[in-house]
Symmetry: C2
Subunit: 224 residues, 2 copies
């Protein structure tokens, strides 16, 4: 057993699995514009696969919420309204507060090192400024820390379902504003509190952190 095997998520062996990843990437990066209609035959053709596994992959993305399927009418890239975004953030706040409560007693020196490393990677990604989508991914990876540490598989699964929607909105927002993503020091307090001994302060900060995140990114959406 190669000890590196645990690091790479074990490349999908099925076309369906790879297609899910491929489509997810195309949507969250904005290469497939929000609201755009997708036709199966075109997609299958472009991806070089047949309609069977493609339709299965589509089902998964519809479940996550990145695609919207209306029977016999068509398949569309999701659009995000202001209310959608508020729902995403409020649910996310609940989940992350819960994750910290579950993870709090499980914090080890190694885990905290891991957290700092993720922040360092985020900062590095911001400073490098090569891939404009890098910081987004790095920030979400930073936030994944508490969910992973909690050991709560159902909670982690919920987060993983929510994550692509956030990623999708961030990329959309960034394109529209032609602006850099997260600021370099935006998570300093987050890290400090997560490493400290005051769970209540951490939970309070999460409310602030999330509200702030919502307010700074909610600008340009049509009210629904």
């Amino acid at each position: 057993m190669n000890h590196l095997a645990a690091l790479k998520p074990l490349e999908d062996t099925t076309i369906r699995g790879r297609t899910v990843e491929q489509l997810r990437r195309l949507v969250v990066t904005g290469e497939l514009a929000a609201g755009m209609r997708l036709t199966e035959t075109e997609l299958a053709d472009a991806l070089g696969i047949s309609r069977g596994p493609l339709r299965e992959a589509i089902r998964e993305l519809v479940d996550i919420g990145l695609l919207v399927s209306k029977p016999y009418k068509g398949l569309f890239v999701r659009e995000i309204t202001r209310k959608d975004l508020e729902e995403i953030y409020s649910l996310r706040t609940m989940l992350e507060r819960f994750a910290f409560q579950e993870a709090w007693e499980k914090r080890t020196p190694e885990a905290l090192e891991d957290l700092k490393a993720r922040n360092k990677k985020l900062i590095g990604s911001i400073e490098a400024a090569t891939d404009p989508l890098g910081p987004i991914e790095a920030e979400l990876h930073l936030h994944s820390w508490c969910y992973e540490l909690s050991g709560h598989r159902l909670l982690l699964q919920s987060w993983n379902r929510l994550k692509p929607n956030l990623q999708f909105y961030f990329a959309m927002h960034q394109q529209a504003h032609e602006r850099k993503g997260p600021k370099r020091r935006s998570h300093d307090l987050y890290i400090r509190l997560a490493s400290g001994n005051d769970l209540g302060a951490m939970l309070d900060h999460l409310n602030d952190h999330m509200r702030q995140g919502l307010e700074t990114t909610i600008g340009f959406i049509d009210c629904a």
Copy 2:
């Protein structure tokens, strides 16, 4: 436009949609035993459909968590460990507390009547004692009230994803114990607090209610 159209959830027009419901029912009622292996060709044959839409329906049930798919190995009905159940209950507690917070200010006299009606239906279903699975469905329908009232679509969706897993476990538990489901007056306090003016008391009660539910139903599972 018929004004009744909004009442019935509009029977699924696609085989996939109907198959999802059919399979969900077969699983949560225990007609497909936990851990049982399913072969696609048999299933397609038994349901009288082809493998295409069946495989798509399977994807949805795998996402919900009722089925487990191991690539190239097979498809199985999920099994529930003690840890799974604890996770389901702890997440559910979070979601329902959040739902009540969101729904609290939206309670109208009509909404509270609706809640009481759901409880009455639950009691009636228990006393009728015809379909042993009726009370389970009625109880879940009662608990759905706060999610629907909250107007939080993403939250409702999360609940709807969690619900089949609870339903599945309840039916399994009931079969194993040959016992009736919920007691007649189990939700009296729940209803009274939900109709009252002390949100804090309601939230506290949810913790109790859920912990109690977990403890009374956790008996017979293998520790994992």
